[in-house]
Symmetry: none
DNA sequence: CTGTCTCACTTGTCATATACTTGTATCACA
DNA sequence: TGTGATACAAGTATATGACAAGTGAGACAG
């Protein structure tokens, strides 16, 4: 029987990563080192690593190295598509409606998140997402006026902000909480005032770490929920990422 | 495992700042001094500092120096401790109280999650977590009777289930949603009935992928929120992991 | 006391160099 | 087709040095 060496190497690496010997985000030894360690050529090591990359377990950057993926997705679990994909798959018709497009002075909490320099003016876009004509989300985006000055209402209606922005993006921080629907929430989403809603606040940062965009998503609780895959169980029973607010 | 030096320097600086060795608003040593102190080049010190700046922990002014931010923009999720740690750090006394410990037939939705074989009987443990005596979470755990038969009420009061279980765990799926407080939620958490709560449902799987344990966490919305760090922004504006429910 | 100048020190930025990494291509062998 | 050896291109981390530009404090003339 012919032995396939790179699969054996891949299996060993996978075992080490899943055993936590390489922490999430940690850097693996270089291909050359692995090659020496396992007594195989660099080609074989690469094939093994690329195999793991296809599984979503590791990733690489040229000139830097290989590192364990921050959020590995297991093979058995299909990727969760975007909401729009889910809608069309279940036969519903997605739609969106821009209900507000204005330059306004930044609300206090938005100004705090964007940083002091951006205090002055922001482009505020409010949009309602529809499924078969009934609203299931309201999204509000605040963008420094300097960045949004060239956008038209048509632009934001047809494209995502990530497409429109010409800035290399570096990451985001997302906060998920529950709240009672305000009067405006109730009107926009067609739910009773005071009924529970999921509120998600996201700060998107540029590659250099500066905040670029603040977004608030509000969902009626009875129609939506978040799903998070945890690769390895937390030591505590408390869900990861939970935080007490003031 | 390879190390990236500027990340190591950043970690040490972060530790010092958070330990209060640099008071809020206080000035850090100059880049040249840090460079000497850590035995690295100024470039590396700068990269570390800029890393912390992206986290909102420090800031700089040309000609003046680096100083700790008065109000950190955000806490990196990587170092977000368990709720218990947060409580003791903020001077509150954590506590827990087991309010229910029973073997019962599995509720339908739990049985579905655990798989058909486990339909028969489960150990149901209900616990209220306290901060300074007032409840901030209620956790209910369902465990197949076969796995939980050896546990005593004292065991679950003193240890986490992850410690008690002798099974190698493989991962978990966590669902976060909002809901209105039921009568029991209201009683357990001390909030008005119908007020919004965060509801988190977790299915923990063994290494072989079979479901081992189902847990439900309920938090009053006004005290808790989830923070998720996204390494790279999603192509869609919709928050990742969101899913429509029936 | 008040303005102004100077000087030491700081961050911001650029250029250059080295060592090391992944990405890719080529040729060879079983 | 899997594996190995080699070479080179491209990208990253780090070190070193230099200079521009901003800050603050003290010296000094009025």
């Amino acid at each position: 029987m012919r032995q396939v060496r790179y699969l054996a190497v891949a299996a060993e690496l996978r075992a080490q990563i899943e055993a936590g010997e390489v922490s999430a985000g940690g850097v693996l030894p270089s291909e050359a080192e692995l090659s020496r360690a396992y007594g195989v050529s660099r080609i074989t090591v690469r094939k093994a690593l690329e195999h793991l990359k296809a599984e979503g377990l590791v990733d690489s950057r040229q000139g830097f190295g290989w590192f364990a993926s921050v959020r590995p997705l297991r093979q058995g679990l299909g990727r969760l598509g975007t909401i729009e994909e889910q809608l069309s798959e279940s036969g519903m018709e997605p739609g969106r409606k821009v209900v507000d497009f204005r330059f306004v002075p930044a609300p206090d909490w938005v100004a705090r998140l964007l940083g002091p320099a951006e205090r002055i003016e922001v482009l505020q876009v409010r949009r309602v997402n529809l499924a078969d004509g009934t609203p299931f989300a309201r999204v509000t985006v605040w963008l420094p006026a300097a960045l949004g000055s060239s956008f038209s209402r048509d632009d934001v209606e047809r494209h995502t902000f990530y497409e429109l922005l010409d800035v290399p993006l570096g990451g985001a921080t997302q906060t998920i909480g529950a709240a009672a629907a305000s009067a405006r929430d109730a009107a926009d989403l067609g739910v009773p005032e005071g009924s529970p809603v999921l509120r998600c606040e996201r700060v998107t940062r540029a590659a250099d770490g500066s905040a670029v965009l603040v977004a608030e998503h509000v969902f009626p609780a009875h129609r939506t929920e978040f799903v998070v895959e945890l690769a390895s169980p937390e030591p505590s029973m408390a869900p990861s990422g939970l935080r007490l607010v003031e």
